[in-house]
Amino acid sequence: MKGVNARALWLHLAVLAGFFALNFLLPEYHRGIFSRVMVLAVFALGYNVAFGYTGLLSLGHAMFFSAGLYGAGLTIYHLDWGVWPAFGAGLVAGVALAVVVGFLALRTTGVAFMIVTLMFAQVFYLTTLYFTTYTRGEEGLVLPQASRVLPLPGVEVSLTDPAARYMTALALLAIVLLALLVLVRSSFGRALVAIRENEERMRMLGYDVFTNKLAAVAVSGLACAAAGAAYAVLFGYVGSGFASIQYSILPLLWVLLGGAATTLGPIIGTLFMFYVVDTTSSYTSAYMLVVGLALILLVLYFPKGIVGTVRERWLPWLP
């Protein structure tokens, strides 16, 4: 863990330990929400690599999430693959797509980059609808419970069990969070931030800006695909809805809320947003109005997001 300061490492381990303890403390309903939030937080963490650290505002990350989702889901449903190989297929699909889309989209910057990624994601979405025979489109596929068994050394874990599901989601979150913590403090991570700050200067310091950005998109796509593949095997549902524009905008909101370019921000942002929606929708059907208002207030008073504001005002060492 070279380059990661001890305080930051302990804080991240403490957060993960907190999630571990909540498995035993939370009532069943909230434990279910937390499982889902942890998987979607991995999605947000992946998005943050591109958007927060590298400054690439993509509106197409739903395609990387759903590449993982379909990569795992279709191989289980149609080919009877086990959970591990299916998860692997999801990761490969996500990274491959990220490299191809990145290679083409990174020829543009700024608004054009937003539009190009959005268009690619729409193509992906429409493709999932076009092959309705295999994907069942919006209606989606429900993966059979019997296929959702995770073989570990000496024991077979059924992912339909809530505790197993929670722990699997936490394991994924822990791996991705700690990997990103190391990544953002590495020479590669510093180069990404510097590219965000001043691209031309970086080129004249001898950095290959395009390759670094492409690597960032690939890492980002990998994490998003991991979240998508995990979502398929943990919750047993694969549908086109996850490839729609809504799922490209959500990670942007989660990251903005929690704090762009902070490691813990995306987790806090996802959790916060999930509960705002959950709470308000139990009172009124116009809950999106309340969510919108909450977002406006946050952006007005905490433009750097929750963790971003904490870092700015009190804890400058936060990664």
Binding site: K2, G3, S187, R190, A191, V193, A194, E197, N198, E200, R201, M202, R203, M204, L205, G206, Y207, D208, V209
Partner: protein
């Protein structure tokens, strides 16, 4: 002079913007250890010329050689790694990062390329601090770069160039906007840089700085090289005086 391969050489280097020939068939050579100044009136093509050398813009025609090797098709970032460092005419730093991080990004690039010694945080720290010490910014290492004074930002830019350990350091109007005291210090700094291995190519308007530093001077006008020689020769040249200083002198 035929025996020595120049560090950098250009042949017929040209660049037009629309109908304007900003750089027009320039044959130029600089040998190792020189401090070369390029002077000329505004719009003479000085910045365009060095931008062609470091690869920021592509030539319309002509070639660039480093150590006799044709680098005309090499992208800018690889030219930097081959030893050509450029400091911007308009200050270009990472305003939100600390002064140390600004320099460390340059040192990191250089260290990652050294295959012999493995990249280490220790070496990064040491080389960055060395570069900051040379320009006298060591006491500002922890500050955010945007909070530095303008003069200090210019020096930070030079420190970033130094941390790349270049063979050719291109300084584009480095003293623009500096106070007299700062200019004095800057002259000493460039002398020190040049004595410790780097060749310096300097675009400069301040003639006192040019005369104090340059071993040779190249005069450009309307995209062409008008004259080239030692400071004494240039000072004595009538042609240069007419073009640059006005015929009154």
């Amino acid at each position: 002079m035929a025996a020595v391969t120049p560090l950098l050489m250009t042949q017929g280097l040209s660049r037009s913007f629309g109908g304007l020939k900003a750089v027009d068939g320039v044959d130029f050579a600089i040998t190792e250890g020189e401090i070369r100044a390029i002077i000329g009136p505004n719009g003479a093509g000085k910045t365009t010329f060095v931008s062609l050398v470091c690869g920021r813009i592509q030539p319309s025609s002509g070639k660039v050689f480093l150590d006799g090797r044709d680098i005309s098709r090499m992208p800018a970032h690889r030219r930097v790694r081959a030893g050509i460092a450029y400091t911007f005419q308009i200050t270009s730093i990472f305003p939100n990062l600390t002064v140390f991080d600004n320099v460390a990004l340059a040192a990191q690039r250089h260290l990652l390329d050294e295959k012999a010694s493995r990249f280490s945080t220790h070496a990064l720290q040491r080389q960055s601090m060395e570069a900051l010490e040379k320009v006298g910014l060591i006491s500002h290492a922890g500050k955010r770069a945007k909070n530095l004074s303008y003069g200090h930002q210019r020096l930070l830019e030079v420190a970033m160039g130094l941390a790349l350990r270049p063979r050719l350091l291109i300084l584009d109007e480095p003293t623009q906007g500096l106070s007299d005291g700062e200019i004095e210090g800057f002259i000493g700094l460039v002398r020190e840089i040049s004595s410790s291995a780097s060749t310096v190519l300097l675009i400069e308007h301040n003639m006192d700085v040019v005369m104090a530093l340059a071993t040779r001077i190249t005069v450009m006008e309307q995209g062409r090289i008008l004259a080239e020689g030692t400071p004494e020769e240039i000072r004595a040249s009538e042609e240069v005086q007419q073009a640059y200083l006005g015929s009154a002198a």
